[in-house]
Subunit: 479 residues, 2 copies
C-alpha cells in the first residue's frame, strides 16, 4: 500500500463537472439502466423506482441518497495483518493483471496453466509493491472449468498472505470464495465484520448489468465483501467516441450499480470502478496506454472524489505483443496518470501484455520497476537546512565534485532510487555483461525470484480445512 500525499492533477473545471453531472442524471432518468436480474429489479421497484421490463428509470436524487450510504473509505484484511490494506483517501492499493488466457515467457506465448497461475501468484507475493496478486492473474486452462475457481482461491490463499480478489463467474463461485475466506479468517461473522476479499463486477456497457455478474455481486454485498463496480468501456464500441460521453456513461453505470449494492446491504463497501480505453476505429482492436485513456483516468479520479467514493482505474496497460519499447511507454502512459490521479485500487498493475490477453512474466518485472519508480517520484521532498546542503557547497566550492563531500558520504547508500531492472551500465560494461536488453534482464530477475520463493507460513489445520473444502466442492460440482 502506498500513501500518495502529492497533489492530485485535476483537469476538469467546475463547469465541466456540472455538464457531466447533468449528463448522468438525464441518462439514468430518461434512458434508464438495464439490470438483468429479477431480485435487483424488485429492490428498485420496492424502493420507488420505475421499472419497465428489465430497465430501471432512476431518480437521480434517489441514486445520490444510496451513494451516500457507501463508506468513503474501508479496510480489507489480509491473513498477514502487515498486508492489510485501506481503500480510499490517499491510499493506493496495487494488484496484478487480471484475466489473461495466455502467458508469455521469453519467446514463448502459450495457453496459461495452473502452474503459471501459481508462479505468477508467487511473484506477486515476492514484491511489496503489489498488495495483492489480484484474482485471475491468468486463466488456468488446464484446470477443470467448473471448479478451477477453487484452485485459484486456494492458490491465492496459500501462496500469498496478501488480500485476494474473489471469483465472479457465478453466484456459486462467489459463495465458494466467501466460504473459503470464512475458513481462512475464522468464520463468516468475522469476515462480515472485517472484509477480507474484494471482487470485480463489470458492467456490460452500455447501461446493462448482466445476470451472472449481478448474481456474484449480490452474494458479495450480502457478505459485506467489497465490490468494484466497473463500467467496462472501450470507447467507440461500448460508448460514444468522446471522453466526455464515456465519463457521463461511466457515472450512470457506476452510480446505479453502487445504488443496487446499497439497497442490498446499506453501508456495504464499494469502489467506483473504471476501465476506460478506446478501440482502433480502423481495425476495431482495443487500444491501451492511449492519450484518451490517460485523460479519462484523470477525470475519473476527480469525479469519484466529487461523489466521495474510493475509485479504481489505471494499471500498466498496453496493446504491445512483446515486452518492448511500446510496452514500456504505453504502460507508463497509464501508470503515471494513475499516480497523478491518486487511484485507490489499481488492478492490472503488473504483468499485463497484448491488450490483457497475455500475462507476461518479463512484463511483470518491468511493471514492478515502474511501480517502484513512481512510489519514489510521488514521495514528497523535504526542504530544510539538511537537504539544502549548504555545507557541502562550502566544502566543494566552484567547479569541484561532490562525490567525496561529507554530506554525500552520509547519504550515498539510499539518496537515489536504485533500479531493480533498469541499466545505466556504460556500453563496454553492458557488452561484457552479455548485451542483454531489458526483457532479457527481466527474465533473469523473475526466474531468480521464483527460485528463492518461500511460501508464507499457514496454520496446518486451516490449510487442511481449505483442502477438504476444495476436494468436497470439486466433487459436488462434478469435476
Amino acid at each position: 500500500m502506498f500513501t500518495n500525499t502529492m497533489p492530485r492533477y485535476e483537469i476538469l473545471s467546475e463547469d465541466a463537472i456540472e455538464v457531466l453531472d447533468r449528463g448522468w442524471r438525464r441518462i439514468v432518468s430518461e434512458i434508464g439502466v438495464q439490470f438483468a436480474k429479477a431480485e435487483a429489479l424488485e429492490l428498485f421497484r420496492a424502493n420507488g423506482q420505475k421499472v419497465e421490463d428489465e430497465v430501471v428509470f432512476l431518480d437521480p436524487e434517489f441514486v445520490l441518497e444510496q451513494v451516500r450510504k457507501a463508506p468513503p473509505e474501508f479496510d480489507i484484511h489480509a491473513r498477514n495483518p502487515a498486508n492489510d490494506v485501506h481503500i480510499g483517501g490517499n491510499q493506493m492499493v496495487f494488484g496484478g493483471v487480471y484475466g489473461p488466457p495466455f502467458v508469455r515467457e521469453g519467446d514463448e506465448r502459450r495457453d496459461a496453466t495452473m502452474s503459471d497461475f501459481r508462479r505468477l501468484a508467487m511473484l506477486a507475493q515476492s514484491y511489496p509493491e503489489l498488495d495483492t496478486a489480484g484474482g485471475v492473474i491468468c486463466e488456468p486452462n488446464d484446470a477443470p472449468l467448473d471448479s478451477r475457481h477453487l484452485d485459484m482461491i486456494f492458490a491465492l490463499q496459500t501462496l500469498t498472505d496478501k488480500i485476494y480478489m474473489g471469483n465472479v463467474v457465478s453466484a456459486v463461485n462467489a459463495a465458494d470464495t466467501i466460504a473459503m475466506t470464512a475458513i481462512l479468517f475464522g468464520g463468516r461473522d468475522r469476515i462480515e465484520e472485517r472484509p477480507a476479499t474484494i471482487s470485480l463486477i463489470n458492467c456490460n456497457s452500455p447501461l446493462r448489468w448482466d445476470e451472472r455478474m449481478l448474481d456474484a455481486q449480490l452474494e458479495y454485498n450480502r457478505a459485506n465483501q467489497p465490490v468494484v463496480l466497473t463500467p467496462f468501456i472501450l470507447m467507440g464500441a461500448m460508448s460514444p467516441v468522446t471522453v466526455p460521453a464515456a465519463l457521463t456513461q461511466q457515472l450512470a453505470e457506476a452510480l446505479t450499480g453502487i445504488s443496487l449494492a446499497q439497497l442490498v446491504r446499506p453501508g456495504c463497501p464499494v469502489v467506483f470502478g473504471s476501465f476506460l480505453s478506446n478501440i482502433d476505429m480502423q481495425s476495431g482492436s482495443p487500444c491501451f496506454g492511449t492519450p484518451e485513456s490517460a485523460v479519462g483516468l484523470l477525470c475519473t479520479g476527480q469525479l469519484a472524489r466529487h461523489f466521495g467514493l474510493p475509485f479504481r482505474t489505471g494499471g500498466g496497460l498496453t496493446s504491445a505483443q512483446l515486452p518492448d519499447a511500446q510496452a514500456g511507454y504505453e504502460s507508463l502512459m497509464t501508470l503515471l496518470p494513475t499516480f497523478l490521479a491518486g487511484t485507490n485500487f489499481v488492478m492490472h498493475s503488473a504483468g499485463w501484455l497484448e491488450g490483457g490477453l497475455v500475462s507476461g512474466y518479463e512484463k511483470f518485472i518491468i511493471d514492478v520497476e515502474l511501480l517502484r519508480m513512481l512510489r519514489n517520484e510521488f514521495t514528497p521532498l523535504h526542504f530544510d537546512e539538511d537537504t539544502l546542503a549548504y555545507s557541502a557547497h562550502v566544502e566543494v566550492g566552484h567547479g569541484g565534485h561532490f562525490l567525496g563531500a561529507e554530506h554525500t558520504l552520509e547519504r550515498f547508500r539510499d539518496c537515489f532510487y536504485r533500479p531493480l531492472l533498469s541499466s545505466s551500465d556504460n556500453f563496454d560494461r553492458w557488452r561484457r555483461r552479455g548485451a542483454k536488453d531489458t526483457a532479457a534482464r527481466a527474465g533473469e530477475i523473475y526466474r531468480q525470484v521464483l527460485d528463492e520463493y518461500e511460501p508464507p507460513p499457514l496454520d496446518e489445520a486451516v490449510r487442511a480445512e481449505l483442502e477438504e473444502y476444495v476436494v468436497r466442492r470439486r466433487r459436488e460440482l462434478g469435476d
Copy 2:
C-alpha cells in the same frame, strides 16, 4: 510548436519556494559564482559587485534587477515563417537530441558521421512534432574538427527550414553561426531585431561558468540571439545528493548567468535552463529518466515561472543502451512531466539513447510517437451537448454497440489518436505481418521517411553565399 493550455502540475509549496529562495541568495552572496572570463568579471565589478580572483559575490537584489530585464517571452524566426516559434507562456518548442558522438541504427552502434548528421536533420524536418533539429544532433566525427561547425550549420540551414541552434564551442564558432544566420536572414541588423537562432550555454556546475562557453555566450548576447543558460547537474557529482540542494544551486547558477547576459545587452532573450538528473552512487554512471529528475523537472518549471522566465528542461532521456522497454519507459518518465510542467524549450526530445552518447534512429521515431501522444493528451476536452452524445445513447440503448451509431460515423476518422508506431494488431495479424517488435517497426518508418524526404526550397543566391562562406572560412581555419 505546441500550445499547452492544460493545468500545470505544481508540487512546491509557498514555504518550499521561500526556502529555495533563501538558499540561492546565500550561495551567490556568500560562496559566490566563478566566471572564468575577464570581460565578465569586469562587467560585474563595474556594476558594483564584489569580485575576488574569478569569483563574483553577488547582491541577490542586483541579480533580481538584472533578471527582470530579461523578456518573459520572445520569438525566434525560421526561414519558413510557418516554423517561427514563440518561447515562453503556454508554448512548448521541441528539438532533437544534442551532442551524441555515436549513432545506433538497428544492431549497429558506430561513430556518428556528417552523413548521420544530415539524415537526422532530415528526419527532424519531416516531423511537425519537432520545431528544430536542434544543434549538434550528432557529432560528425568524419568532418574536420575546426570547421565542422560550418558544415553543421549549413546542413541545418539547408536541409531544414526550421529554427536551429548555434555552435558554442568557441567565440569563433558563435561568430560563424551569427554570420551564416545573417546571410540566411538578410543581414545582422535584421537578426538582431528578429532573433533567428538559439544556443545552449552550459554551466560547469557547481558554480563555475567556463571561459569558452562564456566567449560564445557573449557573442550571442551581443547579437541579441537567445541563449539557454543551463546548470548541468548530475546530482551526486555536480551537486549535493538531494533535489532541494540541486534546485537551489540551479537557481544560483542560472540566475547569475542570466544576470551576466543582461549586463552585456539589457533585454536580450534568455532561457532559464535545467539539465538535472543523478548519478548511480555505486558505479558513478549518469542515470536518466529517474524519479529524481522527474521531480526536479516539475519543481524547475514552477521556479522559472516564479521568476517570470521562460525555461528549458526535460526531453526523452534514458540510460538504455537499446530502444527497448527501458528506453520506452524512461523517456516517458521525463517527457510526460515535461508536459505537466509546460516546459517552454525542450531539447533532446527525439533520438536520445544511452545517456546521450548515442543518437538512435529507431529511438527518434519512438520519441516522435511519444510527442504525438502527449500533444493529444494535453489538448483540453470540450464539454457540450455534442461531445456528451446523448443522441447516441438513445440510438444504441442497453448492451448494444456504438460502431454504427450516427454520432460515431460522423467522427470515426479522427476521434481518437492514431499511432505512428504503436501496434494494436491482434496476435495472428501481428505474426502475419512479421512479428516485428517496436524497434523493428520504427526502423521501417524512418527508412521510408528518409526515402521520401525532399529538401525545403531555398533561394539559390542565398545558398551560394552560404556555400562561399563555408569554403572561405574553412580555408581560413586551416582545415
